[in-house]
């Protein structure tokens, strides 16, 4: 009998092997895959987030927990797709034009996937046009932008303006983050949300899809 408490623990401790093994076992016993995600793994990632905010976990711990979560999702996703389940939300994420830094963006992408989102990672140096094209072609309902340099921050405003021009601004929630970014900047350029760290980004994204 699959021990689902152990599944929760293995995500929290970042044990990808155990997470996968326990997931396989649970699925084989007929546990509903969505139940596994929503009742056990998402709460585990929430706990990981709580520990991060409490200064107990740092980036390395986030990474290995996200990795464990993703290992499980690799087994679960095909089952959900097969029965037509939709992801919690679809995020087009990228580092803005002119900026090649991706550690933060990768971390957020990992955690969003762990949080049940479908993540379309556009990489780095992403033009406004690429974000718009992804919104249209992949029905992304969240645009998440990262910048590490103060000199590339303006690309965030350019992208938001471009989304308006293209008539898709109100189809998406725009979330931004990065070392020099502040709530004030987010308010100034009309972003829907800003988070200081990757864990906050996931919370924002969840709020964004339920508020829509």
């Amino acid at each position: 009998m699959a021990d689902l408490k152990k599944l929760y623990d293995s995500v929290v401790s970042g044990d990808a092997k155990a997470t996968q093994a326990l997931t396989k076992e649970a699925l084989a016993e007929g546990v509903d895959p969505l139940n596994l995600v929503n009742e056990h793994m998402v709460p585990a990632m929430d706990e990981v987030g709580r520990r991060f905010e409490a200064n107990e976990y740092f980036v390395p711990e986030l990474l290995i927990s996200a990795r464990a979560m993703k290992a499980a999702l690799e087994l679960i996703r095909p089952l959900l797709i097969a029965r037509g389940d939709k992801p919690v939300g679809r995020v087009a994420i990228g580092t803005v034009k002119g900026d090649l830094h991706d550690i933060g963006k990768n971390l957020v992408a990992s955690l969003l996937e762990g949080g049940g989102f479908e993540v379309i990672d556009l990489g780095v140096n992403v033009s406004p046009e690429k974000f718009i094209e992804t919104v249209n072609s992949k029905q992304a309902n969240i645009v998440a932008m990262s910048a590490l340099l103060t000199t590339t921050m303006p690309s965030m405003k350019t992208t938001i303006d471009a989304l308006k021009q293209a008539g898709v601004r109100d189809k998406v929630k725009v979330l931004i983050g990065g070392a020099p970014i502040t709530q004030k900047y987010a308010d100034e350029i009309g972003a829907d949300g800003y988070s200081e760290n990757a864990v906050g980004a996931v919370a924002l994204a969840k709020k964004a899809v339920t508020a829509a």
Partner: protein, 291 residues
């Protein structure tokens, strides 16, 4: 202590320099344009930044080589210019210094996470060795491994830098955690100071990440965890946007006002990072000379 470091610190606190990126932008570097390439394409303008810091009172200036490791240059499509960009960078700073200041060459992070498997230890070692050798061959006085978030990467960079025989400064960014006293990867000032001292760094420090107020506590903790001199380069706060351009709101006077406290906290090398300009260095210089 390394003789050069001994010599510099024996006369009291050493003034280093301020930000280069924003100074280059003021001289035409485009938003998002990779600064290190200007060593080849706009060396005179790079030289102007170096000269401005020397004129403002910097006793140590760095070089426009922060991103000039093979890993980052490959992203830029300029890996074949690695040796040249580093050599030119040192030459430009040496010329500007003209014996009035020392040139400590900058080695920044690769931007790839070891933990994620983005890059291997061997690749990092090779890239940092290549860069350190090029900088040393061009006669830099010392090497500064700066703005590091990952202790493993920092240790590899320090070990590569030490191979040159030059003095090595090793500094990290402490901007994470609820008290903003850890690196992104969770390393504390104590852990950084101990590991980097053990790795053979001659000077231990912190740069970037937050405004100068936050550096007082970090400086004290570094000071308490190593016998090496401490190097501090703080930001002029975090930027706000004015007319679409980032503006740092800490003034030179406000910044310099923290100097006495920073000295009390144990800093031997003092300078600025993001948002600081020659005026900041001049203000520090005035503060230290008691005018």
């Amino acid at each position: 202590m390394h003789p050069l470091i001994q010599q510099l610190t024996s006369h009291g606190p050493v003034i280093t320099d301020g930000a280069w990126g924003t100074e280059l932008q003021a001289r035409g570097l485009g938003l998002g344009e990779f600064p290190d390439l200007w060593n080849l394409t706009q060396p005179e303008r790079v030289g102007e930044v170096a000269q401005a810091y020397v004129a403002a009172g910097s006793q140590v200036i760095l070089t426009n080589t922060f991103g000039a490791n093979r890993v980052r240059l490959t992203e830029q499509g300029s890996a074949e210019h690695t040796a040249e960009i580093n050599a030119r960078g040192v030459e430009i700073s040496l010329k500007a210094a003209s014996g009035r200041a020392r040139v400590f060459a900058s080695i920044g992070p690769t931007g790839k996470l070891l933990m994620n498997g983005d890059v291997t230890k061997d690749e990092l070692q090779a890239a940092f060795s290549e860069q350190a050798r090029a900088l040393a061959a061009a006669h830099a006085d010392a090497l500064v491994v700066e703005t590091m978030s990952d202790l493993e990467e920092a240790k590899l960079a320090v070990s590569a830098a030490r191979e040159t025989g030059l003095p090595v400064v090793a500094c990290m960014v402490f901007d994470s955690g609820k008290d903003k006293d850890r690196t992104m990867m969770g390393t504390t000032p104590e852990q950084a100071a101990r590991a980097l001292t053990e790795a053979g760094a001659d000077v231990i420090g912190a740069n970037c990440g937050q405004g100068i107020a936050g550096f007082l506590g970090i400086c004290k903790r570094l000071r308490g965890a190593t016998d090496r001199p401490v190097w501090i380069k703080a930001n002029a706060g975090l930027p706000t946007m004015v007319d679409g351009r980032p503006v740092y709101t800490t003034t030179p006077q406000e910044f310099a006002g923290y100097i006495p406290a920073l000295l009390d906290a144990g800093a031997s090398f003092i300078g600025g990072c993001c948002g600081t300009r020659p005026e900041f260095i001049a203000a520090i210089s005035r503060n230290l000379s008691g005018t």
